[in-house]
């Protein structure tokens, strides 16, 4: 992937005096935050900037071709793939750090005002203001599933997405996962829909019709509602797994209008194929040559430290972050499909931090002993025991990984576990 350059002529319109003041304030706040050791500072800087100049996001998005990516799971991965897929058309601005609310987005765009294309990950609860400010060329809606880190109900997210969709004109292509009846429902009034068979890993939330509450037919295949007659928009993009080339590389086969492409990816799990399809659909919408887009996608090896394995005395550990039952289900799938041992690392983050793992079908791992680590290990053990799974607690996550045989290991972390483990590994120089 070509790295974005910060030099060169600005593509964004010139900021007003007030917007310039807001940008200077943001830089100061970010610097102060970094000096105080409070992190990268992009969120706090952006927050102050938007308070001083609410128009700043619109200004920083102006003059660019933007692709937004939203959903509950897989946003960072798909955004990275989209950024790669669009890179043959020129340098890409993107919020690669995963700061995906308006404050984080404005900071990323402010720092790169020369790239004419932007790939922007958007938190699902902030879609409307970001759509309103960025006037995107394409909007990718991946999936919806419950999560309790914030306590927002699915119904509220659907309302929010509908209101975001109502802002779309025919200048925006809504690239929608129509395998998910709720996602399709949220975007059904968008003027230009490109349907993708994006998969449905977590069916428990969507078995009833979002419009009329009737039990849907054919969820997971070609769904339809016997109550109101809604049915799945036939996907024009679909993807499936091809050959497994090595431990780390998977072939995926993507078909779209007039195209059949085979792409190698190191993105793990059964969502990999669909993620590549979304990225290629976005590239097609923007007008990028798809063969070039596909080969650029193959260069994505690592998303925010997630996929590149790190070595622990001969164990090649892959860290994955799981925020909701759909994510945990995906981890179990990956562990079963690739026959990888799975180590769980769970750290505290609020009163609901271990609720989501209760909804996962741990029974599917029934013949294994699962090694659990982290301060929330007792809660994880309680849950797995109720599902009939035997466990061992090992206090230190690296020691937990060392209990596994030499070879590949899947390290499934909750949100704070992931943050803390990747920070520790960066400190050790084990990951970039």
């Amino acid at each position: 992937m070509r790295e974005s350059t910060v030099s060169g002529p600005h593509v964004t319109a010139a900021p007003t005096l007030r917007e310039r003041a807001a940008m200077a304030l943001a830089d100061t706040a970010s610097l102060a935050s970094r000096m105080l050791g409070k992190g990268k500072g992009e969120i706090i800087g952006g927050r102050y900037a938007l308070r001083v100049a609410p128009t700043l996001l619109e200004k920083m998005a102006s003059g660019r071709t933007s692709v937004l990516v939203t959903g509950t799971n897989g946003k960072s991965t798909v955004t990275a793939l989209v950024a790669a897929a669009l890179s043959p058309a020129g340098p890409i601005a993107s919020n690669r750090t995963g700061a995906n609310m308006p404050d984080g987005i404005v900071t990323s765009l402010k720092e790169d005002r020369t790239s004419a294309i932007a790939a922007i990950e958007v938190d699902e609860a902030y879609l409307r203001p970001v759509v309103a400010s960025t006037h995107p060329r394409a909007l990718i809606a991946l999936n919806l599933s419950r999560e309790y880190t914030r306590g927002v109900s699915l119904a509220r997210t659907i309302d929010h997405w509908q209101s975001a969709a109502s802002l779309l004109t025919s200048d925006t292509t809504a690239i929608v996962n129509t395998d998910d009846p709720w996602v399709q429902y949220a975007f059904e009034k968008a003027p230009d829909i490109c349907a993708v068979a994006g998969g449905l890993n977590w069916t428990a939330d969507v078995t009833i019709c979002p419009a009329c509450q009737t039990l849907l037919n054919g969820v997971g295949e070609q769904w339809s509602c016997p109550g109101c007659g809604r049915e799945q928009i036939k996907p024009v993009w679909s993807a499936s797994d091809g050959e497994r080339v090595s431990d780390l590389l998977q072939e995926v086969i993507v078909s779209g209008p007039g195209h059949n492409l085979t792409v190698l990816t190191s993105v793990p799990g059964r969502t990999a194929a669909a993620s590549v399809a979304f990225a290629l659909a976005a590239a097609d919408t923007v007008g990028v040559n798809l063969d070039e887009a596909a080969s650029a996608i193959e260069s994505v090896l690592d998303v925010d430290g997630r996929y590149a394995p790190f070595d622990v005395d001969g164990r090649r550990a892959r860290i994955i972050m799981l925020k909701n039952p759909a994510g945990w289900t995906e981890a179990i799938d990956t562990a079963l499909r690739s026959d990888l041992p799975i180590v769980i690392y769970a750290q505290p983050f609020g009163p609901r931090d271990t609720t989501t793992i209760w909804e996962v079908e741990w029974e599917r791992l029934s013949d294994r002993n699962v090694v659990v680590s982290g301060q929330r290990a007792p809660d994880v053990v309680a849950c797995l025991d109720a599902h009939g799974i035997s466990t061992t607690i090992v206090e230190d996550p690296l020691d937990a990984i060392r209990t596994q045989p030499v070879g590949d290991v899947l390290v499934a972390c909750n949100y704070s576990g992931f943050r803390q483990l990747t920070a520790r590994l960066r400190g050790l120089g084990a990951i970039a």
């Binding site: 009737t214 009163p351 909804e359 025991d385």
Partner: protein
Amino acid sequence: MSPAKTLTVALLHPLLTVACGDDASGLALAHRAKRRDLDVEVVTVHGATPIPDADIYLLGGSGHAGVPKLAEQLSASTVFTDRVAEGAVVLAVDAGLDALGRGIVDERGRIIGPGLGLLGFTTKRGRSVSEPVVSEPVPELGLPALGGWVQHRVALRADPDVEPFLTLEVGHGDRGQLDGVRSGHVIGTRLHGPILGRNPEVADVMLAWATGREPQEWEPLPPGPQERARDLRAEEDRAAGRRVRDLRERVAETRKSLLRV
């Protein structure tokens, strides 16, 4: 006891009320039943599927917008109310509890979302809470201090004879420090967790009632991973609660001393 028949557990409309882990209470109940040598079958009811004759009903979630719809489903036939009158066991969590009351009322007390009217309370807008909770023990049910989390902004306006389920030691209830409702074999609470996953003793109470026992009749079981995790978490939440209280007291004292100056 004669060989026990299979108990039917019906999980009612978890999607209508946005179950947040509460549907795992079915699994937790089955797990506890196994330790009590009971057979349990869990069925989930969605959409227009009729509510079955069951020994235990589970309902709940955090989506209060779904309360009227859930109440409508519960009253679509008389099965649910008949079974409750016959002594079937009910666990109603948060929005599920509100569906069993008279309904959700506005500031003037007018019903804006009707409930089933099974229990003597209405639900009004209350303070917004999102926090861990730890309860006091309930000796008459053989319950130790329970743990869970709450997230809502409702309060109960209950008839004087409506008994609460719990008194909270840490966190806020829906009637001051009181949480939920207990009436016959119906338990209503704000505690998510899932409550039966984290507190198997509540499952014991329900299994006792469903098999015609008193909760105290169960042989005590050695604590398992669930009890241990709950107790550890309760210690942590109590300590955090104490820190918040201390901080509040210090702020109040500082304010007082400033006023004196």
